[in-house]
Symmetry: C2
Subunit: 457 residues, 2 copies
């Protein structure tokens, strides 16, 4: 009996229109990546489990999709262990491979494995799907693409400057003008924790601060208190809640606040360099903003932290990144600094859709359909199609000699703007009747004129 | 302790050069697909196991990668069944999803699931990876890309004609001139089996005939005999071993041989139509050849069968396809005829590499590297970089103020053809010193002149 077809929850089929729009975004990002000197790599969809497990915390381990060993996977499983019927213990015995969870750990693995072939600093980009066994919900999928660009092997702050420019040029090129690039620095957060005397509570402190947008000033203070941060310490944080002005003003105030902290002062200097350089070169349409509450992935980042939000749309961040000082250490290559950013393809898609920013040409289907009136006419058409395609014109022949109405409906539904009608008269005169599907206008033209008319926008 | 990094056998990391070359092949194929009116779809990397299992035969089922259920996957497993410790039985209980094995079954599932959104005839292409737990060996991988174009919903032979032209234009565009497109028809094979009185032995007969290239005439005859095909029947096949001449001559001889078989005669007519149309329209560089021994995927195809081989290289087929009359029946949509072809990306890659056919520009890295002499100079350079990138010139700044020799070596190793040196004098005069890395020639130029010189080929 035939099955009713479906796909696993959290996964998606993409229609021709959706693929075209996604490919448009990817091509804009890829183009800018390459203009900035980044080069593509690709890694396998699955890695050895040992490469991935333990790299994303306990929750991450749970969300990694494991692949069952091939063949008789129970053969080598010890009877005693098997009898325990313990999923966690059994997993390690019957599954040695897992689908990648992100592109960063595979990248670190790649750098270490290929270190002798790589010319550092290595600027790579990677656009591939990743998989997470997360609970599917609106905008969260079990299979989705990540678009990452990273540089490893240089601690230079020019990378941070260039990444801000990269965000600016990509979003400007996508027509999404006025994105806000929020920036912070792990050293600033450490410095604040230090000067208020809560250095040992850095994570609790920043996790609370990060929620300012959501729970407000009082909420943040309450959470800090609950986490055991002293009232005097919380009082000292007060300036951060009234943190207005342009980046220079903010940096000046931070410099004063953090003058007793070496690390904090270093963070201010780094941000001053980045903001100053960006002010000097200018941005096309993005706005750079200093946000001391930004903490995103704090366990990970050691320097700059970035996050990008779209203008005028209620949507989480559409990009983010930062500097991490020891990416490759987990695979035995120490002291290689890295910095990277990523683009949120699915969210960018939703934003462009909502704001109507996809160019119409992106989903352009065939420009012309040749109506099929029979064998001889179709043969005459096929010869013309060859010429059109050589000129780069997307063109097709309706394959069957169906009723004219049906063929015209097909062109209509597909959004094909022109049809060509070839009958006995056309073949005799070596002409083509070109019909504009929108206006209904018909015109008898030569092959050259046909090419010319269909080539135009 | 740090792990020694590696990847699962049968999978590959792709370096920047390899990704660039692969993307070049894919972009040529995709461009031609779209010129012919095909539109892209994408399906999830994993499907419900029920969608895939039982569609590729017993061997196929074994080669499908199964994904372990998330969470406590043993919880719902019956104790009695568990105690059997039977891998095959347990698989169905602990794994509900599997990585796709090819693009054809997911496509069939897609067509049935989305039949109400699709305007038939539906011309789709799909370029995505597939996974098979096959024994890895030279040129055979556990993760590899398939590039398929199919039309469903039309029995018109014009599709076959267009697919031959599509092969021709793709390989011509790739610079691989003179590929041989071998064509046969399932109906011809059935017809031959019928007229020699071995209709019940069609599969044995065609499998043996398919080996003519490898085991020769005597080998084929011997195998037919072993499979129980009568000597008189084998004698009747004799004309197929002396099957020379152009397609018209071959078709005439086939017509005579098969005149008593209705199906065989239909096959001859179909081939006559396709070959005649191709002769009429011409091919750019490919050669169309009729090969009655071609049987590829016989259980599957019902009409035309295609296979493409590269000229002057010892390599299996670099493409293949055919017509199948009931693609979607397994998912409950009957009577939808389909025809499709695929391109063998990995083999095409090897052929282009061996014949030196990749254009040099494909792996072009940055066109220019700005040498970093310090903070002020770097800032001056960053502003120029912005202008260059706006003009579409791939350009980068060496991030650190390292020794000049080191920076120059980086440009050399990366194959970057130009460097720019910016010192005090250049900044004062608003100039840039452009160095040709091949000739060593240095030239002081304005920004406009810099852009002009770097834009050229």
């Amino acid at each position: 009996m035939a099955q009713k077809p479906g796909i696993p929850k959290g996964t998606r089929d993409f229609s021709p229109e959706e693929v075209a729009k996604r490919n448009y975004i990817i091509s804009v990002i890829r183009n800018q990546f390459e203009l900035f000197g980044f080069r593509p790599i690709e890694t396998p969809s699955f890695e050895n489990s040992s490469t991935l497990m333990g790299k994303y915390g306990e929750e991450g381990d749970r969300l990694i999709f494991k692949i069952l060993n091939s063949g008789d996977f129970l053969k080598k499983v010890d009877d005693k262990l098997y009898a325990e019927k313990d999923s966690v213990k059994l997993t390690g015995k019957i599954s040695e491979k897992a689908l990648r969870y992100d592109l960063t750990v595979p990248f670190a693995r790649y750098v270490v494995q290929h270190q002798n072939e790589i010319d550092f600093p290595f600027k790579r980009y990677q656009i591939q799907p990743v998989w997470r066994a997360d609970r599917p919900q609106k905008g969260r999928f079990r299979e989705f693409y990540q678009c990452d660009a990273d540089v490893v092997g240089s601690g230079s702050l020019w990378q941070e400057v260039e990444f801000v420019q990269l965000y600016d040029t990509v979003f400007t090129a996508l027509g999404l003008r006025g994105v806000t690039i929020k920036m912070n620095n792990r050293k600033i957060l450490s410095g604040i924790a230090e000067v208020i005397g809560a250095k040992d509570k850095l994570i609790d402190f920043t996790v609370a601060l990060d929620k300012l947008d959501k729970i407000g000033e009082e909420g943040v203070k309450k959470e800090m208190q609950e986490k055991g941060i002293a009232p005097e310490a919380i009082a000292k944080v007060q300036p951060l809640f009234e943190f207005n002005g342009d980046t220079t003003e903010k940096l000046d105030r931070l410099a004063t606040l953090l003058q007793t902290s070496e690390e904090g002062t270093k963070g201010v200097e780094e941000l001053r360099f980045i903001c100053g350089s960006i002010t000097g070169t200018g941005l096309q349409s993005a706005i750079l903003d200093l946000d001391v509450t930004l903490a995103r992935g704090l366990n990970y980042y050691t320097g700059a932290i970035f996050e990008v939000s779209a203008p005028g749309v209620a949507m989480g961040s559409i990009g983010g990144g930062g500097r991490y000082d020891d990416l490759t250490g987990i695979f035995g290559l120490q002291g290689i600094s890295g910095v990277g950013i990523s683009f949120g393809l699915d969210r960018i898609y939703l934003v462009l859709e909502e704001l109507g920013l996809f160019p119409e040409t992106v989903t352009a289907t065939s420009r012309v359909l040749f109506i099929n009136f029979g064998e001889e006419e179709a043969f005459y058409s096929i010869k013309a199609l060859q010429m059109l395609r050589k000129q780069g014109i997307k063109a097709e022949l309706y394959p069957d000699n169906a009723k004219m109405k049906k063929q015209m409906q097909y062109a209509d539904k597909r959004g094909i703007p022109f049809t060509v009608l070839v009958g006995e008269e056309e073949m005799q005169k070596e002409h083509y009747t070109l019909k504009n599907m929108q206006t209904g206008e018909q015109l008898a033209v030569s092959l050259d004129a046909l090419i010319e008319r269909l080539s135009g926008a």
